[in-house]
Symmetry: C2
Subunit: 413 residues, 2 copies
């Protein structure tokens, strides 16, 4: 068989994804598989079992990252890597992350059953805690591995119940012996659902993002004065929730003022004491700013911080600000982006040159090796929710593009 005619097995990819979707399945048809939960452990165990079935060499590192290596003809050459993450959002979907891991597994199964050996080794990876919804920040383990974040700092991150990330790695048996430290990688491919409206709107099957928007996270803490609401006149109140409400609207307005493809969101808020007849005396909320233009994102933050301070002063609710995370925008390797577009064309799929609004482990990988992503459409632009969906045909298309991209790149000497 000519290698050009090689195709992945759609039915097998589908049943693999369906089996994974049972682990942490929610009543709404989604998946809840929070990082380092019991569900994450069960999915990891299954993934490791499947890797061993096709003779991959499995390595677990100190951050719980799982690497499955398939040897090449020349194992002195640096490997090509592909993967994504197994963890999910709370009440998340059946494709986000897992498609990129199971898609790469399907590619290796296809090579295995056809006895195709590439020049370079190919490594599949499952990065720990990409989502950041249990332990902040997101993409922490690829960040540590790439040398951008500190391992012990990552171990110390705690969830809402006070559990530390390092302890939870230990508890589920995935604090491995290998150092979480980068080694030479020839190229990194990450296959993922788009999580946006572009491909569906443009009626394209394959997206080749030119890169990922920058990602800035902030945490705002406001202090008010609690009092019984009935006897406390409006004049002289220090209502932390009213200050937060004004600030939330400022965040919502800032992308319109700045222009471009910026988005800005308040996704999380805690209000204290959160009793209907007490004036709120403490609020914490988050700010998420993304743009292709890092400078513009910083200007938006400077402008917001000035507005926030004015609101806090006027309402008498002192403010504290934490700058939690800053990841620069990541333009991907132009040659690899072109390869994705070319492979899509050769396989007869329409494709689109675009940007990725979501952060991915590819952001950190992009700092250490040529990197690219492959997107397939999200139905109805829904993601991070239980109804997240992608057709099996598009799932197959993306995996076939990944197969041929990996074949080309892994056969480069």
């Amino acid at each position: 068989m000519d290698i050009k005619d090689l195709r992945i097995n759609e039915a097998r990819l589908r049943s693999t994804l369906e089996e994974m979707a049972k682990i942490g399945a929610t009543s709404g048809g989604g998946v809840q598989r929070l990082a380092l939960s019991d569900e994450d452990k069960r999915a990891r165990d299954l993934f490791v079992k499947w890797l061993k079935e096709i003779d991959c060499e499995v390595t677990i590192d100190e951050m719980g990252n799982i690497f499955g290596k398939r040897h090449g003809k020349n194992n002195e050459l640096s490997p090509v890597m592909s993967g994504s993450h197994i963890d999910s959002q709370p009440k998340g979907g059946r494709f986000d992350g897992i498609l990129g891991v199971m898609g790469a597994l399907e590619v290796l199964r296809t090579l295995y059953e056809n006895n195709v050996v590439t020049e370079r080794p190919i490594v599949i990876v499952d990065w720990t805690n990409e989502e950041g919804s249990r332990f902040v920040p997101a993409m922490v383990a690829s960040g540590v591995w790439a040398g951008a974040l500190d391992r012990d700092w990552a171990y110390d991150r705690t969830d809402i119940n006070g559990k530390k990330q390092g302890e939870e790695l230990e508890r589920i048996g995935y604090r491995g012996p290998a150092p979480a430290r980068k080694w030479p990688v020839y190229a990194y491919y990450e296959y993922h659902i788009e999580q946006g409206p572009v491909l569906e709107r443009e009626r394209k099957t394959i997206g080749a993002p030119k890169g990922i928007l920058c990602l800035h996270w902030y945490d705002i803490y406001l202090e008010g004065e609690a009092n019984q609401v009935g006897p406390t006149p409006m004049q002289g109140r220090h209502d932390a929730l009213c200050s937060a409400a004004e600030m939330i609207l400022k965040v919502n307005e800032v992308p319109g003022k700045m222009g471009g493809n910026m988005v800005a969101t308040v996704g999380e808020i805690q209000n204290y004491p959160n009793s209907r007849n007490i004036i709120p005396d403490g609020v914490h909320f988050t700010v998420d700013i993304r743009s292709w233009n890092d400078e513009q994102a910083l200007r938006a933050w400077v402008s917001l911080k000035r507005d926030f301070q004015e609101i806090a002063n006027r309402r008498g609710t002192p403010m504290r600000v934490e700058e939690t995370l800053r990841v620069e925008h990541a333009p991907f390797d132009e040659k690899l982006v072109q390869r994705v577009l070319d492979c899509a064309g050769e396989l007869g799929y329409s494709s689109n040159y675009m940007v990725s609004g979501a952060g991915h482990d590819a952001s950190y990988m992009n700092q250490i090796c040529p990197t690219v992503m492959i997107f397939v459409p999200s139905i109805g632009d829904r993601s991070h929710v239980e109804v997240e969906n992608t057709t099996w045909e598009d799932g197959r298309a993306g995996a076939d593009v990944l197969l041929h991209c990996l074949l080309k790149t892994a056969n480069e000497k």
Copy 2:
């Protein structure tokens, strides 16, 4: 001893309050004794023990209301009643509610040790769940007793952990045998801290409120569309938290538009899924409106609801509204208000004619018998918080005014 010279025992009142403050004491110097919690039970047990020590006849009704009856010379006459509540806010203070129960107890102890028997019986009462912070609504048990609320509906109210109020009454052993149904009461006095700034500002010791502001509670539910924040453009978002932020500011502005002594507050908010990188798809928040003018409060709500609907339509976040509680403003009995002012004067205390912004069990009692309240100053206008405080001198002053009001009213034939 002339009955006019009778005074309560400040030291005993203080040590009684200090002993009660140990039950549910918080690290910040306050008290957390939520309705029907283990702490509430311990405080109730102690109160019942103290009632029995001065030969009061104790009755527990189906709503857990505790009545302690001291016989008069003529037990055919309807009794005079006085009391308040033992439950507290989460992280509440050491005076709200408990001062009115222990103050009345101190009055009865004073009568007991001086062998003073009044014409009419005197009944002390602890009303269950005045605060409404564990089980909504507030003042539920005086409401049932007065015939304004339904007992089984009250039993069915659930707390945040899904526990029902009726089951929790049973669990702590305070679902008593007596029907929670009003019987003839000659007059009702409720002694309470002001929880507002007026007495302190006016430098008065005793407040005689002409009545309680009306109290309207609403619950607003907004539905948005959850999506990953990065790839979802600002246009076309349906962000439930942004809608809520606009609405919170409308609530904050409405008293200024309506004038008078109206206050309006959003004290509580829940946001879903509350993850920093997901657009909020569900928000619940509360609205609390109070005014001396019931019609004005209704007009404010009509205006708010119109604004809310416009916001919900514009942002594409469907809204559901529940009208949770409406208690009309309660003008107290003019003769009793005058009696409080007169007694304060006779005892040498300055006094002030005012309104009460906070709801009290006196609101429901006012529907069935002549009712009045006695206020003492709240230091620094702080209430429903751990630093809530009142001087022991003012605590004594209020109890002495209560003593002489009760003597006069209970000696009326």
